[in-house]
Symmetry: C2
Subunit: 565 residues, 2 copies
């Protein structure tokens, strides 16, 4: 019953690049500080064939457009201080992820789809928390499953009170899976719904509406149809008024011009980022190039460069590459990351951004880099950083190495290549000391040295110093520091060994070791919730031929193995 | 290849009751304030047939004895202030969980085995933190996999430095699974091993010994063979000296007499706890009886009653019942919990315990109740509390209802049964306000009202008041309060509906909703780590016919699906 369009080599390569002129499922409208994003899914617009996107249900293609909209709102519309999320259909806001799509999807597709969906929803919360763009869910009809989970990612949830519209999480009773895109976590950890009410609510496929939904904190207000438009407008204006967004009313946005990208079977190439695919070995070699020029002298220069400003351009490319590889290259389990360029220019770009932290664009760029690095943290690929002469692992780019599972820094130089080269150095910069926290709320340095405050202090004290291999190793900033004689073999063995291990066990190992220390709403979603959901997705009770996902809509009941695990 | 002894109805019923005279795998020895627990596994003593417990590897039977030892140390040996955990074989401390046993086990057995193993290890940490019994791992040979994870649960790890003994986590490279009994979590969150070193260590099947193991924080000290006995004794004496354990040298222990238990296919009966099994409906009806008498007047009376003192006796029975049902009755997915007895006597027992919090026995009983309730929290069964006339959901027993996924309290009385009865009341007591935290560090009340400090304050302020249905509902202490007319149908529907859902999805739902709020080392083990491990256990790359668990020891390599999920 698995739809052939999903199967193996025949799977279409997914492209995450889009723009509002190409949206099939969303409409963006602007009215001063308020934007309205209307979900109006084209039933026939599924990313792959075999299902219809009825009742504003969504698939990855719909979510790709949503993600694009969140990014354009932040960069192209600095004047927007509140985003109203609403639906373009009658009586239904959104029916959640398309069930036929889910039922037909192979396991990795389901998992990857949920991960991306979660990241976009986390990004909406990030916009409210750090960017002064609060999202308001204006549920003009029933929001069920992923539709309600989308609303849960908003700061304020309004539900039309028409005696029929409800919010619901019918995943468990109807499909035998979890509300796995943040639902279970946000219900209790964000909205503070009492656990027993949450339990009841999540087993009741028809959901809860009106006053009871308010009383149980499932929504913030239930509004009669007669007062709907006016109340939504009023709430949006209130949120916009309260917004601390740095951009003034007349601020000019930065157009996110189409990414220049060349994609072949062997290569992905952008302006600053490139990747070489070695399918036989299951390795992708990624190179991030530092800025080709010195940064502009001031904020005005940064605005003038816009999407061409290196930190923004590089981040967009890296973001697209991570999504592309994650979705389209599942068998390439190891990513090797190198950087090339001038350390000083990277640090100068960082300094420009941090010196103008109150500038809306500088703020947005740093936040975007933060989100992209978080995407790397939850990526189920082994990440190995190679720090060689000519590299620029400094400040923002040092985060790539700190996000890696292991790093190798060459002690000395490659004698055969360039005996006169400067040995590779890493540099801790201000970007490593706060502005780019992981999902757990700690910097990558603080997570690395979790429980070892002396080591964290020493690494912090080295800020600004170029650290050759011996120093970087002593400070615990890199894992191994082979010299020219050992480098090639040591790296080769590490990569071959990695490729020989169980991909599943590596995914589990990395998902644990990358997240030492505290857990947050965000890490609970990717840890506790997603790991349980992945297990359930893999169980015959959900995905087997007689499982609930497969039986949904057939009129037959699922045939469950009743054993509790 | 699944061993038939594990399969379905033929599975032996596991009994968790044992005592030192029956141990086959451990030796307990005492020397004043220091106890030595020596692991010396009987190869032929596997719980089920089909594998040999070579190299001090263990199965559930070995772990049942370990759990019994931890309990006896706390109750029967108040004088013990340090426990040395060591091995009775040459060159090997412990090789971890038996791999043939794991490979042959069905999925639920693996998961249940790991859960119990984790609980015992958490209990060892609880003994050190709250009971003044610090555990010292004296690794007289290699500790690999679960053997090293056992050491990680100790406060201090000593490794013999003999150029061959190592600590290792070979699960990933050899078996394609995780070090899932706390390993990954404790390495970074407790021992603060740097994540990249942790990653390297966990892919290196031969492990790390000597000075490097100390340098990476994997062990606390490496001790030459010549100084081994003396250093271990010295370390034990130091820990014993520092112990704040309340019991003096001459304190008399309380003998944990064999539990009186009747077990049939339909019933489990102890003195204070009973359970009726309704296999057809998949329900267990559990009744906990309150104290039959007033508690003794003072601590001396409590000591005199010993294991007969109601809170201790009831907790032991409940603990055994939870383990029995969890292991032996996997298809009974819903536990209905009732209490019967005198509210005042429950609260009086609670008061006696809390008034003598500095008495070692009172302290141990409260800690044991805490651990048993935590066991309930991580049990993969739906828990429904029914609060009826004649019940005693007060203080310590109210925790049973607060641990439930939902609760029903009868408004009024059963007119047909006893129209003159007192309506059921619940009572918040001091036991609900601190001494019995969940694994997340919060009380069940604070978890219930997570993010709603007003509600928590109101519930706390009601301390001591008998709360009839309307009041309990208003305060958010119970979920539903049907009256006599609706009770039977409402409860029946709730139970039938529960039984109709996917057991896997319920497990995932409950594992999320029960743990609102912060995560701790403990909840990370049962959440992040266990959920990933369960997923991996279920994947063909581990457990399929060509998976790593099945291929181990055959000389053949596992055949992995290389797709990263």
């Amino acid at each position: 019953m698995t739809d052939p369009v999903f199967a193996g080599a025949a799977a279409p390569r997914v492209d995450f690049r889009t723009d509002p002129s190409r949206y099939r499922h969303w409409r963006l409208a602007f009215d001063g500080p308020v934007a309205t994003l209307t979900m109006d899914v084209d039933e026939a617009g599924g990313l792959v064939s075999g299902y219809e996107l009825k009742l504003n249900s969504y698939d990855l293609g719909v979510d790709i457009e949503l993600y694009d909209a969140t990014q354009r709102l932040r960069f192209e519309h600095p004047e927007v201080r509140a985003v109203v999320l609403t639906g373009g259909k009658e009586r239904i806001f959104c029916a959640g992820a398309n069930i036929r799509m889910l039922a037909a999807s192979p396991h990795p597709w389901k998992v990857n789809f949920c991960k991306f969906t979660n990241e976009t929803r986390n990004g909406m919360e990030d916009a409210a928390a750090h960017s002064g763009q609060a999202w308001i869910a204006a549920l003009n009809g029933t929001a069920s499953g992923g539709g309600y989970e989308l609303a849960l990612a908003c700061e304020h949830i309004m539900l039309i009170d028409d005696r029929s519209s409800t919010v619901s999480l019918p995943e468990l009773p109807l499909l035998g899976v979890l509300p796995g895109t943040g639902g279970l976590t946000r219900i209790v950890d964000k909205r503070h719904v009492r656990r027993d009410l949450a339990d009841f609510f999540s087993t009741r496929s028809e959901g809860v509406g009106g006053g009871r939904a308010v009383q149980w904190r499932l929504v913030d207000e239930a509004v009669p149809r007669s007062a709907w438009d006016q109340t939504v407008a009023q709430r949006a204006a209130e949120f916009a008024d309260r917004s601390p967004r740095a951009a003034g009313a007349g601020a000019q946005g930065v157009v996110l011009a189409p990414l220049e990208k060349t994609r072949t079977e062997e290569r992905v190439r952008y302006r600053h980022v490139e990747a070489a695919l070695d399918r036989a070995r299951g390795i992708v070699e990624i190179t991030v190039h530092g800025p080709a020029d010195d940064p502009p002298a001031d904020a005005a220069g940064m605005h003038a460069q816009g999407a061409g400003f290196w930190p923004l351009a590089m981040t967009r490319e890296l973001d697209d590459l991570v999504l592309d590889l994650r979705t389209n290259e599942a068998e390439s389990g190891t990513w090797v990351i190198r950087t090339r360029g001038d350390v000083g220019r990277v640090l100068a770009c960082d300094a420009l951004l941090l010196d103008h932290a109150s500038d809306w664009l500088a703020n947005e760029i740093v936040l975007y880099l933060k989100r992209t690095l978080k995407r790397l943290d939850v990526t189920s690929r082994s990440i190995i950083a190679l720090i060689e002469p000519g590299s620029c692992f400094a400040g923002s780019l040092l985060e790539l190495s700190l996000a890696a599972d292991r790093s190798f820094q060459l002690a000395g130089v490659f004698e055969d290549v360039d005996p006169q080269a400067e040995p590779a150095a890493v540099v801790v910069g201000p970007m490593n000391l706060g502005p780019l926290p992981m999902g757990n709320g700690l910097t990558r340095l603080a997570t690395r040295f979790y429980g070892d405050s002396e080591a964290l202090k020493a690494a912090t004290a080295a800020e600004g110093e170029p650290l050759a291999a011996a120093d970087a190793e002593r400070l615990g900033l890199v894992t191994f520091t082979p010299d020219d004689l050992d480098w090639e073999e040591e790296v080769r063995i590490a990569l071959e060994e990695r490729a020989s291990f169980s991909p599943d066990a590596l995914t589990g190992l990395e998902a644990n070791y990358r997240f030492a220390g505290p857990e947050t709403l965000e890490t609970k979603i990717f840890g506790r919730l997603s790991a349980w959901q992945n297990w359930i997705f893999h169980r015959p009770n959900a995905s087997g031929p007689h499982g609930a996902l497969r039986k949904y809509g057939t009129g037959q009941r699922a045939d469950f193995d009743r054993e509790r695990v």
